[in-house]
């Protein structure tokens, strides 16, 4: 399941719902991304007041659904979930949550990493960090491209 929302989410409730009624599940792995209070901007560590996430409604949901379907084709998952927030967030706030349930832990761990790595390079979200000297758009990172590339090329990436 995928959800793109402005509202916060409750990790405990999400994890309980994910596996409810399915006793074949032996492993649940999850990742939560949070807003940091500091970020390197122009080589200097700067304090972040808020972070605003913009996205492309329609394409975002489409890409997340494709990424989730790809994970389910690669690993034997009993259930999976991607939640990504948009709007203005503060340091400490939850941004993103992915969770995968499977019979055994390796599939759950690997699928979670895959979901995050592909989400980072494929899902149309952009982060604007508000600092005491104004708003700064976050740059994409080569390390994220490399992390995504280790799973093989995305079918629709333009490189």
């Amino acid at each position: 399941m995928i959800r793109v929302q402005e509202d916060d989410f409750d990790i405990g409730a999400e994890l309980r719902t994910l596996t409810e009624g399915d006793t074949s599940v032996g492993a649940v792995a999850s990742f939560t991304g949070l807003v940091r209070d500091m970020a390197p901007i122009d080589g200097q560590s700067r304090e972040i007041r808020t972070m605003t996430l913009e996205h492309y409604p329609g394409m975002t949901e489409k890409k997340l659904a494709e990424i989730e379907a790809e994970a389910n084709s690669r690993w034997p998952l009993a259930a999976s979930l991607i939640i990504h927030r948009y709007g203005t967030l503060e340091p400490g706030d939850q941004i993103v949550f992915v969770a995968c349930a499977s019979s055994h832990r390796q599939a759950a761990f690997d699928a979670c990493q895959f979901l995050m790595d592909w989400l980072k390079t494929e899902a149309p979200f952009w982060k604007l960090e508000d600092t005491d000297t104004g708003g700064v758009w976050v740059d994409s990172r080569e390390s994220d491209n490399q992390a995504a590339a280790r799973w093989g090329k995305s079918p629709d990436t333009d490189g």
């Binding site: 980072k120 494929e122 629709d156």
Partner: protein, 83 residues
């Protein structure tokens, strides 16, 4: 044709979306960018590093040699930074 801009592309151009009548001789994403850039400084500044901009036609990533038509929805945006 519906054109969407996101993040700093949106800020530099000064609009999040616009509807245009696609000229008949503009048949690829690249040709559309050339056409937009000729419209004003805000466009030429937004597209100054064309190689870093990503394009999506009907919500699918495409290369800049991808063909386009007037009924398409096209979006231009910087590399994505979610997660």
């Amino acid at each position: 044709m519906k054109i969407l801009y996101f993040a700093w592309m949106r800020q530099r151009i000064g609009a999040s979306k616009e509807d245009i009548d696609l000229p008949g001789d503009v048949t690829t994403v690249d040709a559309l960018v050339d056409w937009l850039v000729a419209r004003g400084e805000n466009y030429s500044e937004a597209f100054v590093k064309r190689e870093v901009i990503r394009a999506a036609v009907n919500q699918e990533y495409v290369q800049f040699d991808h063909p386009i038509k007037n009924s398409d929805e096209i979006a231009f945006f910087p590399p994505v930074t979610g997660g």
